[in-house]
Amino acid sequence: MRKKNKINIHIIGAGEIGKALAKQMVNDGCSVTVVDTDGKILETLSTRLDVFTFQGNGASYTTLMEVNAGDADIFIAVTDSDELNILSCLTAHLLGAKHTVARVRDVDYARQSAFYRNHLGLSLTINPELAAAREISRLLRFPYATRVEIFAKGRAELVEMTLPTTSPLCGKTLIEITQGMGLNLLICAVARGEEVFIPKGQSTLAAGDILYLTGAPNAFHKAFKQLDMPTTPVHTALIAGAGRVAHYLTELLHHEGVNVTVVERSRDLAVEFCRNVPECSVMNDDAITYFDSMSDADITHTDAFISLTENDEFNMVAAMYAKSLNIRKVIARLGADSKLKGIQKGDALRVVSHENAAVDWIMGYVRSLMNAEAKDAVESLYLLMDGKIEFIEFRVTEKNAHLRKPLREWHMRPDTLIACIIRGNKTIMPRGDDVILPGDSVLIATINQQIIQLEDVFESTWEAGVRV
């Protein structure tokens, strides 16, 4: 971190995730070493970023000795091979690396992350496909949301949504909204075009704004109903592509009581999927052809279409086709750096990338590790709008100087906001009289990016505090 000694980070595998991670961490001021077998990728990487690169097998003892993996504060293995990731993390752990993170995405291994953590010394196993599947399942629950994150183990949610022109919120100030409509949600941040700001009481909302709302999960349903935004739950979903994301997603959706149909072009994959995932029906067909073979009634009864094939172009076309058939909720998976996002008109489709999901996940973890020595532990961290807004979840400890002091007496930075306080099972929408207690989780929204501990939220006493 900027304020402390340089944190030493080793990344094995310079794929999409590895590169994105390296970039973020260099920006955060860490010293980064990247190991990969492909010399060309490393060469481009070292010209673009201020990192040390090393060509070699990341799981081999010699390589790890040579790059001094034992000195790593955080050792991250994100190659394509699960086994290699686990082995190199194991080796690094034994060499003395403080924290090890492995990408493990095989369905068979994914169920054992607790074992890896407890017995193999892996600090974290991340599963990009599972992360993407979770993201999609959350998106399906909120038809208007473009992104949903959960905090404090699901007791609070953060929803990103675009304000439609028809919304009664357009043209209103925040004071009017909170007082007039009695919404139990907090508008934490607004993105208008390129500009991102934390709204104040007098700020007006306009159509097309991207809003970030926090609140208890059940509050959203009520609020959306009030705002004339239908929250019809998804009953039947159609998934194209029988890959790993589809596997996790099917299980998640089945758990929520959704009927899932998976369409897969390859017969072998379809049979394999059908064998491994008993909770859905599997069709052996091309997604677009399958749409044509569906009756009108079947299409009307399909609430959601999620295109998860390996092919970005196909996903985009299938998703647009599904949208043209008036399927309510359409989600397409794209690669992290795919520019295809831009070809859609409006925001009819949602786009999910499992690489991005993984990068966010790891960054959240890494940031919380970096701040482990801070007084209040960072539980998780989310970067939104390409990193312009940060949401940080802190756990309040006894050491906090502002314990039991009403929020109205706090002096906070202008670009910061307390979005949510979670106490036990209760989600508190912060008002002036609220206080924080040890053990609470506090969600902070900031566009400042200098917050590494809860104390950073506060300005020097002569500066004016800002509360919405």
Binding site: A270, V271, F273, C274, R275, V282, M283, N284, Y290
Partner: protein, 479 residues
Amino acid sequence: MNKRKILSVLGRILLTEAGLMLPSLLIALIYGDGDAIYFLATIAVTALVGVLLTRIKSHDAKLSSRDGYTLVAYSWIIISLIGAVPLYLTGEFRSIFAAIFEMVSGFTTTGASVLAMPENLPHGVLFWRSFSHWIGGMGVLVFVLMIIPMKNDNSMHLIRAEMPGPTAGKLVPRMKRTSMILYGIYAAMTFLLAVLLLCGGLDIFDSLCLAFGTAGTGGFALSASGIAGYNSAYVEVVLSIFMLLFGINFNVYYLLLLRRFKDALKSEEMRVFLIVVFLATAGITVNIATNIANTATSLREAFFQVTSIVSTTGYATVDFNFWPEFSKHTLVLLMVMGGCAGSTAGGLKVSRVIMLVKSFFAEIRYIVNPKSVQVVRLEYKYVDTATLNSTRTYAATYLLLICFSTLFLSLDSLNLTTNLTAVLSCLNNIGPGLDLVGPMANFGVYSDLMLFFLSILMLIGRLEIFPMFLLFSRSAHDK
């Protein structure tokens, strides 16, 4: 085909059989009915031939899958033929075919008899008859593999051919140890049953013979009156429960031994089996209640007959020939289903029935939506296409066998009910049928030719069709 190796394994099997006859010899000596000499002669000759055969050295120790199947088929034929010798020597049987039928019925755990009065047999032979159930229930080769070290480990072929059920697996890495565990569970349960029967007031000889008959799901009665002759509700209930237990996959008991109770209770096959038993018992209880004043009695009788038939044991407490039609039809259906795979029971096996029913529904779904992919699941795992195909083929062959065997039996001019249930009874290794081969009647009504044919049918049923047919194919005997 590795003839030398097969002969030497057959030699070992002969030696084993000679050894297995020793308890019967002992019983014969204790009771002094004069049958000890029959056993002595048989044992001597068998052991001699066995020793000679084991002398054959084979250059190649490998047994192919084909060799395994033929070996199993030959072993079963040979042990039945040899086992029939003491029976024939008693002179109670009208021909050698009748004696062979009786012995095949013993080893295949059918329990169908040609004798009207089994109590006329000397005790040693009676014991041998019941003991053959116990050996045949778990499998002769499983036993041989347990006691005789086989240097070469292609023994899985043998087990596959002998174990009842669509697939055979090991419990532990070593085949020998697997056999020992299976026989250990089997012996312990048999012992427990014998003790319980002793407590019911039966003498040691009857307890042991009934326990053997129940454990192997065989069902030879020791007298013409069958289980009804003991006139004890206790004995009936104990036998019912144990017949049910021996109809359940032995893997379940192994899991129980390992204290994996959850996994054991999760067994889909066992659940379906128990549900079927419950429904059949309930149905029959209601159906026969009109004829019987006491509901408890009708429940007990229904439960006994259902467990006896579904586990393919074939003990009888009542002559269900006189039961209402619905009850008789239910019993016939239970005959076809049989017990669980991996138990000592015969029949189609519950797991096959589950697979067939599920593949029927899968087919319906496929017709509704030809693009859909359908998979059949059993025990929470998918069934691979090869197993599914072999199950379907098995079921089809089974049906054809029933049809043509019934047709062939009709040459003896008995009625359709008799012939059909005789075929079902033999092919599923049950014992009693209906009408002229009903629980209180016997198979003596058939001619020697038909008895021989039914003997083959019992072997076909016990070895699950394919091994016996392999013997008739020329390719099985090619070099």
